[in-house]
Symmetry: C2
């Protein structure tokens, strides 16, 4: 009865990349070790939370000393699979699609875009950052042939549902969706939404609250 530890909570997963970014920056100037109290202070988190998050990755620290920064970085990177890159297809070569295609560092985060697709004939045949843009028609077949697991959707909302369906048909197992639409998927396909509008809603609502308060104070 081994394996299958209890799954890591999603909030923890979301914080782990922040730790790596912070630790990489810190490694350049600071000493070899770091305490969770310092990390927590600088990242505005609770020290206990940081320790719990780190525990998920299997690293241990030494009382009174802290954690070895390099080993910590390695452990988190390994845990997140950043050293074990998965190939991906991207559909929708608009501005956002181009931005992602130009981000060569994405492969440092476990995902490597190997082909892009669009319906615009003017784009088909060209490349961005070394990635060919191909007719959307050919995607389903290529997913199967190349055994691609990750699909990235950067189309307008109107086409997203259709693209998702084609991806799922082809055998895609995880969709990173940038379109503002809820994607209907079977249980064995993961959908991760990158929702600009959700984020923006939180921002503007909080801002309105803030402005109201400061106005009140100034009276």
């Amino acid at each position: 009865m081994t394996g299958d530890k209890k799954p890591v909570p999603e909030p923890t997963l979301r914080r782990l990349p922040t730790y790596v970014h912070y630790l990489r920056r810190t490694a350049q100037v600071e000493t070899e070790t770091i305490s969770t109290s310092l990390m927590a202070k600088e990242l505005k988190l609770d020290p206990t939370q940081v320790r719990k998050d780190l525990a998920c990755t299997g690293v241990t620290g030494t009382p009174k000393v802290g954690y070895n920064i390099d080993r910590l970085i390695d452990a988190i990177e390994n845990f997140l699979g950043w050293d074990n890159v998965e190939d991906a297809f991207l559909v929708g070569v608009g501005n956002l699609g181009k931005a992602l295609l130009s981000y060569e560092r994405l492969s440092g985060y476990g995902v490597n875009i190997v082909a892009a697709f669009d319906v615009n004939p003017a784009l088909v045949g060209t490349s961005i950052n070394g990635v060919k843009i191909i007719e959307l028609k050919k995607m389903k077949n290529l997913i199967q042939r190349m055994n691609i697991h990750i699909g990235i959707i950067t189309t307008p909302a109107g086409s997203a549902m259709d693209v998702a369906e084609k991806m799922i048909d082809g055998g895609i197992k995880a969709i990173w969706n940038f379109a503002p639409i809820s994607i209907d998927s079977p249980d064995n396909v993961i959908v991760q939404n990158m929702d600009l509008y959700a984020s923006l809603a939180v921002l503007s609502k909080k801002l309105k609250q803030q402005l109201k308060h400061s106005k009140r104070k100034n009276r």
Copy 2:
């Protein structure tokens, strides 16, 4: 003792735009009303949760009938302030910055980018989608003169901290941050992170889990 109802939970705020997008699509084909049970089913949520979320916006439904779709859309849009646009500055005109500048519909979501800033002299003086690109030096002053409340950071991580500081100095009240860095801000400045890497971490971790399970099944 009026005003100051208890604040709306962040998860609710994040779901509200999804409702609007769904309802707009539904309004085109369906009848005038909708039930939370149907919405919940299509958006893969709990009906009670949908009702609670909607209650925050002040709309009420009619038992046995449901909610009037148009009134629901209006109520949510109004609640989120989408009809009450705030001006914003964007810093960092790389691919991602360009993508946001080209998104004219952003003003339909309460935020209107009125100027962009970059340190690259080749970009300064040009425009994208009617938005002028200005020397970063001039930003602080313009924030004050134009009374700008929202700053959008689409620079590389290295410059983000510095840009944020300048924004806060100038008097920005809310920062929409696309750089993978934790921004140090005073209590009266809201920071909303749009974290690609957090989202990607969740996606790839879940995918690995999924692939492991399906492999096991096939044995």
